[in-house]
């Protein structure tokens, strides 16, 4: 039930709209109640709550990011449980310097210990 003052304001609002010729063809009777039903959470009156909520969401986001990064970076490295024992084969002779360019090799007789040109 609307009180007299609100009813009067509503009438004046309609009156002014009509006098200024700024009125629609019709207005839903429940227009104001539809808007009012959506105003249940005023943002400005819960400033402190909002502030806390923002901090909490930032902290949660940081923790999730840290966990994700940690799992991505550590999962790729898999350590063996036993020691890896493997002989390292070192070249006994430096063969790189003995190679001749193929252009010169073609018409020369090859010494027995030289590498073949491929």
């Amino acid at each position: 039930m609307m009180n007299d003052k609100t009813q009067n304001i509503k009438l004046l609002g309609f009156l002014k709209a009509i006098l200024k010729k700024e009125y629609p063809h019709y207005i839903s009777k429940d227009f104001s109640s539809k808007v009012m039903s959506k105003l249940d959470k005023p943002f400005y009156s819960h400033g402190f709550f909002n502030y806390g909520l923002r901090i909490a969401s930032a902290v949660t986001f940081a923790i999730i990011t840290l966990f994700t990064m940690d799992s991505i970076l550590t999962d790729n490295v898999k350590y063996s449980k036993s020691n890896i024992e493997q002989e390292i084969l070192t070249p006994t002779r430096n063969v790189a310097n003995q190679m001749k360019k193929c252009d010169y090799v073609e018409n020369e007789p090859q010494p027995s210990d030289s590498l073949e040109c491929q």
Binding site: Q7, I9, L12, K16, Y23, Y26, F31, K34, L39
Partner: protein, 189 residues
Amino acid sequence: MHDDDKEILEEILDGNISKYEVIIHKYQARIISLCFRYTKSYPDAEEVAQESFLKAFNSLHKFRFESKFYSWLHRISINCSLNYINSKEKTKEKETISENSGLNEGRREISSETPYNAYNMQIMAETIESVYNSLPDDLKLMIKLRDIDDLSYDEMTKIAKLPIGTIKSKLHRAREILTKALGKYIDDE
């Protein structure tokens, strides 16, 4: 700049949210009318107007009282209407691409019929026009200066050359006659 709504708005900002209904009642007709100019559909105009009131409410703490509240609300409504048009155009593009676009054509028609649960403003306007024209000239002048031209009481005293008390009383009388004529169309919610 003096704003008639300042007291109500301060009460709302102090946490008395129910007072926002007064603001909605005061401006709903003009805002829906403004939105209709853009949407060309009454149900859509109401939807956009609803969004405008909600946006204004949620941004109320940013309102600095440097302009009139209605001017600010008016600007918000225009922005909401333009957003509506942009989103509608995007939907229209999608509909053109879609094979079923022909099925949605019927929605664009503007119905002139007043729905059951709505105030018919056209009938109210006809009544008000005839009552306003039958008012004595001095009362008609008060209505014109205050409600149509939006003048302050100081400006009215200069134009009408009457003391402020007389102006207020004449304006009250004129409004009473007009709202009484309007009252029979408005049922108490």
